[in-house]
């Protein structure tokens, strides 16, 4: 399955969404549609919790409703003007409705503790892939130390083999404020906090695209700090890595655009490997055009959308830290064409 294909939403249970009467949309991020080991174990735990709390609601709510209806004041009763019998309490009854909640709490606590330890303290397998996640205002940087690959916003991982899981371990740091990495179908979220390294692991059941977004308010454009995780077959993933390891493609037809790029401030923030552009403040653009989206997953990559973005980034993504470069129309066209060749 090529990257970009959305996994069929019928592959997993999604009872509550179905219950609510809504068909899952193509970009579903429902937590009841799990597609990774941590998401599956949370899903099973949540079903236990939902059935217990649901049961409590039905029983207690039912008793309340019964009491309110059964003991309502009826004006036509002969004794309607008399006060009912006054009851001040009962130690036995009160003791029993203290013990029952305690038992329920113990049950829920043990089930919860089991999943906490199983997820957080899972031993890291030898074959696990390490990725460093850096949260920025307002985009994601992904580094693959083993491969020497750096990319942005679109995380590529090998899909896990059900027989031999190949989890991806994420080491998470922040370049500025708090962020949170959340791809609901793969795992719960983990905050990305400055001056602190957090870790989490994910694995995907099947190749496909899994969507998510920053889940901790991080400033002006928090809403558009989206996330895309592409799970690929091991072969496709190896091919992707091999391609990303190459320096930027050189296309003589866009040499003029490259010259404009390299002679403006673009290079102080962006890297294009194999050229003089070595900035690290913004996303690595070496294989920029191999991505489906830009502006942290919020804009599909087309020549038109890129052209608009370079002309005035803030109009496409308010709050973006990239300033308008004030290129003339001619240079703008050239730079856009150049970037579109960085496959």
């Amino acid at each position: 399955m090529p990257p970009g294909t959305i996994i069929s939403s019928t592959s997993s249970p999604h009872m509550l969404s179905a219950f609510a009467g809504f068909v899952l949309p193509p970009g579903s991020t429902s937590i009841f549609n799990p597609a990774g080991t941590p998401a599956h174990s949370i899903f099973s735990l949540s079903m236990l919790v939902l059935s217990i709390t649901g049961g409590v609601f039905v029983v207690v709510g039912g008793l309340l409703l019964y009491a309110l209806l059964r003991y309502r004041h009826r004006a036509k009763d002969p004794d309607s003007n008399e006060e009912p019998q006054q009851i001040y309490g009962s130690t036995q009854i009160e003791l029993s409705w203290t013990v029952i909640p305690i038992l329920i709490v113990v049950l829920l606590f043990l089930a919860t503790a089991r999943i906490i330890f199983a997820t957080q303290d899972a031993p890291k397998p030898q074959n696990a892939l390490d990725v460093t996640v850096v949260g920025h205002q307002f985009w994601w940087e992904f580094r693959y130390p083993k491969f020497g690959v750096v990319t942005a916003n679109e995380l590529h991982i090998p899909a896990s083999d059900p027989q031999a899981r190949t989890p991806v371990y994420l080491s998470m740091i922040s370049a500025d404020t708090d962020h949170s990495f959340w791809v609901p179908r793969l795992a719960g979220k983990t905050d990305v906090i400055p001056n602190r390294v957090n870790t989490m692991w994910i694995d995907a059941d099947a190749p496909g695209l899994y969507l998510g977004q920053c889940a901790q308010y991080c400033g002006l454009e928090h809403a558009k700090m989206l996330l895309r995780v592409y799970a690929q077959t091991p072969t496709d993933f190896a091919a992707w890595v091999a391609h990303q390891q190459q320096p930027a493609l050189e296309d003589p037809s866009v040499a003029d655009g490259r010259a404009v790029f390299e002679h403006t401030a673009c290079i102080s923030c962006h890297t294009v490997r194999g050229t003089v552009a070595t900035g690290t403040f913004g996303p690595d653009l070496t294989h920029f055009a191999s991505r489906d989206t830009f502006a942290s997953g919020s804009v599909p990559l087309t020549r038109q959308s890129l052209h608009e973005f370079i002309a005035d980034p803030g109009s496409v993504k308010p709050g973006v830290l990239m300033p308008p470069m004030h290129l003339n129309d001619h240079d703008l066209d050239l730079v856009t064409d150049y970037l579109m060749t960085l496959k």
Partner: protein
């Protein structure tokens, strides 16, 4: 029984010159006037906070909407949260406490009347200071700007780098000042409850409302202090070059989270305990039965007070705590469910065997019971740390705490308004309007907050000014926004009723609900001196004893 028993005349309040009235209110140290000012002030901010919510709901009614800019939206959710917690919920609860506690314990006033006035005015000033940020927020940099850091103001978003100008200083200072007011009033409540009770009123006979307010006030001491400390540290960071929360210089963002939530979570119980207190008065009166299990209710309240001080990090399950740390806070959080459960069961047992009158206060109380039950159960879901890894910061959390705050606290407050308005104003609220208010608000509440759970389960993140089209969150958001509008209309009906009934309502008389606590033994509204003669009580329900000399509570307690 020495409570006042002479027939009480139904009098029209006399009208005086406006400036004299104004002078009277500004300089008053009377607990009843201060209580009413707290309540009026909170209602003003309730409307402001509500308008902010409506604006946000218009923005979110469809994906990629351009009704509000991201900056304005971020300011609105910051102001909405700060306003509703610090300038609506706290003052309105303190207002009812101020008004009712001396009357319920047979006292002339609060223990420290001047401190009372000071606390109110400093809290009131804090609210206006927060809103002054719209004019002065950016200082000399240009136009104004409200804070846009969220109501938890997580570090390092509040550092000078990410929050230039003065907008977050307005937030810091107003929260700090309102905290000083809260501590003053809490101190007053504890002192009043402990030392101003009338003859015969032992702690064991003190009305549950007063008990719960006392526990709540004790919690205020413990929780506001770290918040105040954190605000001072933040000011030091911003102006004197310290680095408590400045991550770029080795400070800790997590430290702020701990400081904030060790205030923030007990704060929820600070708000909910007075609301339980209202229920403890209203449910028995409209079920015509004594509260079931008074000692257990007191014990459960004190238990909630203590346990809730050790649950704060359940707001931080996603920050990368160790598995052992997470497990501890799961257990502590779930444990709060036990005393809370006891309360619900005791209310159920109070209703059981009674004769339930569905007058407006009881209607809202019934709404409270079901909605608070649901809110408690979604709280249990959120206490399950792995489940919280998914739900944290999603709309499910927004739905959960609005179920607590609107479905629980606000419904209970409406019940309190319908119940004590006759005492405060001397006139009944209109019942027909009350029914309109109740049913509209009930529908609006559920249309708004029920779908919010589902959109959260579908992965929608809170504090986002917009959302992508392909996620499929559009239809639910339309429903949610419509619900918000219905709630707004219902609130207008309520406000109209408050104003209309003040002039046109039926005269209430001292005891319109045939109730049992001391505040119903004095005229409505009560005279400045409260009690013509200091009352003496012999049980928890002095007016029951008076009305049923053949079967007084004193025989059973």
């Amino acid at each position: 029984m020495a409570t006042q028993t002479a027939p009480l005349p139904l009098t029209e309040p006399s009208r005086r010159h406006a400036t004299a009235v104004l002078h009277d209110w500004i300089t008053t140290v009377d607990h009843k006037k201060i209580g009413l000012m707290y309540i009026g002030y909170a209602l003003l901010f309730l409307v402001i906070g509500g308008v902010e919510a409506l604006l946000m709901r218009i923005q979110l009614i469809r994906p990629e909407n351009h009704f509000l800019s991201p900056l304005v939206f971020n300011q609105l959710f910051t102001m909405h949260g700060t306003t509703m917690v610090f300038f609506v919920a706290m003052p309105v609860l303190f207002g009812f406490g101020n008004y009712l506690i001396p009357l319920m314990i047979g006292a002339r006033d609060m223990a420290f009347p001047r401190l009372n006035a000071f606390s109110f005015w400093i809290s009131a000033f804090a609210g206006f200071l927060l809103y002054f940020s719209y004019i002065g927020g950016s200082g000399l940099y240009g136009g104004g700007g409200a804070p846009d850091v969220g109501w938890w103001a997580y570090a390092p978003l509040t550092s000078k780098v990410f929050s230039p100008g003065h907008s977050s200083d307005y937030w810091t200072l107003s929260v700090l000042l309102s905290g000083i007011g809260s501590i003053g009033t809490a101190l007053n409540i504890v002192a009043t409850a402990l030392s101003m009770r009338c003859r015969g009123m032992t702690l064991y006979r003190m009305p549950l409302l007063v008990w719960l307010y006392t526990v709540m006030s004790g919690m205020v001491f413990v929780t506001i202090s770290p918040l105040t400390a954190a605000q001072i540290m933040l000011l030091l960071d911003r102006y004197l070059g310290s680095h408590f929360f400045d991550t770029q210089a080795g400070g800790s963002a997590v430290l702020w989270m701990h400081y904030f939530w060790i205030f923030g979570h007990p704060e929820v119980y600070v708000l909910i305990l007075p609301v339980f207190a209202f229920m403890n008065e209203i449910i028995p009166v409209f079920s015509r039965k004594a509260i079931f299990g008074y000692p257990a209710m007191v014990a459960a309240s004190v238990g909630i007070g203590f346990i809730s001080l050790s649950v704060w990090a359940h707001h931080m399950f996603t920050i990368g705590m160790t598995s052992a740390g997470n497990t501890f806070f799961v257990l502590a959080t779930m444990a709060v469910g036990v005393p809370t459960g006891i309360k619900i069961f005791n209310w159920l047992a109070t209703i059981w065997g009674g004769k339930v009158h569905f007058a407006p206060p009881m209607l809202f109380a019934v709404g409270f019971l079901f909605q608070f039950l649901a809110a408690g159960l979604t709280g249990i879901m959120l206490s399950v740390a792995p489940f919280d890894w998914q739900l944290n910061n999603s709309y499910f959390v927004v739905a959960h705490f609005h179920y607590v705050i609107v479905g629980g606290i606000l419904f209970s407050l409406f019940a309190a308004f319908y119940y004590w308005y006759p005492k405060m104003s001397g006139r009944m609220l209109n019942t027909k309007l009350a029914h309109w208010h109740f049913w509209l608000f009930l529908v609006g509440f559920h249309v708004t907050f029920d779908p919010m759970h589902f959109v959260g389960l579908d992965g929608m993140v809170r504090r986002t000014f917009t959302y992508p089209v392909d996620r499929g969150w559009g239809p639910l958001n339309v429903i949610i926004s419509i619900g918000a509008l219905i709630q707004a209309i219902a609130t207008l009906v309520f406000v109209y009723n408050l104003v209309h009934s003040y002039f046109k309502g039926a005269l209430a008389g001292p005891d319109p609900w045939d109730a049992w606590t001391l505040e119903w033994s004095v005229p409505s509204p009560p005279p400045t001196y409260n009690f013509a003669a200091a009352p003496t009580v012999e049980s928890r329900r002095p007016l029951w004893d008076l009305k049923h000399p053949e079967d007084p509570d004193t025989l059973y307690e």
